[in-house]
């Protein structure tokens, strides 16, 4: 993604992600693109290496998609992991220009049912954003690293990086 429109995308995602966290009461919600670039975050992320989570989410998405294709399952819908105190929800969703990934971490305040309930509407809202309807949105290898850092810097307080 070009840095030129990255700030616009991050800005546009803020409200839908905030609404998703409010409605589902998940602890953390991240939106990541297929290359592992963090586009949005909301919630208490202090305990997590967010950049690592974003990269791993993209990797999980890539391998799950490959697995789905290998097994003729066509596409995978979501990944749900249940821990002792926290649960993880990871799901891809398509926009007109690219595929994105939602990562949600939640505890007893939420549930898989609640996350699934609001996920569909969330994905539709993102897909309808004007920022995801422009053609030619992919960046280049040269701009990737600077776009990644720009994305993180835009989201996080300056003294965190």
């Amino acid at each position: 993604m070009r840095r030129g429109d990255l700030a616009e995308v991050i800005d546009a995602l803020r409200e839908p992600v905030r609404a998703f966290v409010r409605d589902t009461r998940v602890r953390v919600a991240l939106v990541v693109d297929a290359s592992g670039q963090l586009l949005a975050q909301q919630g208490f992320t202090g305990g997590y290496e967010v950049a690592n989570v974003a990269s791993l989410a993209a990797a999980a998405h890539a391998s799950s998609r490959a697995l789905a294709e290998l097994t003729a399952a066509q596409r995978w819908n979501y990944l749900h992991q249940v821990g002792r105190e926290r649960q993880l929800f990871l799901a891809p969703f398509a926009t007109p220009t690219e595929e994105l990934i939602l990562v949600a971490i939640f505890d007893d305040d939420s549930s898989l049912g609640l996350v699934l309930l609001y996920f569909e509407d969330f994905a539709r809202r993102i897909g309808d954003l004007p920022q995801f309807r422009n053609a030619d949105r992919t960046g280049s290898a040269e701009t990737f690293e600077s776009d990644l850092e720009a994305g993180l810097r835009h989201i996080m307080p300056p003294d965190w990086l």
Binding site: R25, D108, D109, S110, S111, L112, G113, L114, L116, L117
Partner: protein, 115 residues
């Protein structure tokens, strides 16, 4: 499908004025078996009923007001009763004129049978 669970839903659906009955996985907030006027709404009802019951129950417990056994919502267009049995939530939706005493008694019977 589990006959015992299906029978439980049918028992509740037969009560006059009841427009829907649903058994919900309490932790996941997902529907297990049910009959609703609009079956497409089952996932939403399951998720929100589970959220209402669990969050309210936890808040009451933290405030030392006891363990939640039943949550009943009265609204202009009908009533919703939620109780729990054996890891499942029993959700009954009824018209305003339904006999809520009978709904309550039968829902609690089902809860006990499932526990």
């Amino acid at each position: 499908m589990n006959d015992r669970l299906t029978e439980a839903v049918e028992q509740l659906s037969r009560i006059p004025g009841v427009t829907g009955a649903l058994l919900v996985d309490a932790e996941a907030g997902l529907p297990v078996v049910g009959e609703l006027a609009d079956d497409a709404a089952a996932p939403a009802v399951a998720a929100l009923a589970a959220a209402a019951y669990r969050r309210t129950g936890r808040a009451l417990d933290n405030a030392k007001l006891g363990r939640l056994e039943m949550f009943r919502l009265e609204a202009a267009g009908g009533n919703v009763l939620i109780t729990d049995g054996g890891g499942l939530l029993i959700v009954v939706i009824a018209e305003p004129q339904a006999h809520h005493g009978r709904v309550q008694v039968e829902a609690l019977q089902v809860a006990e049978a499932l526990s």
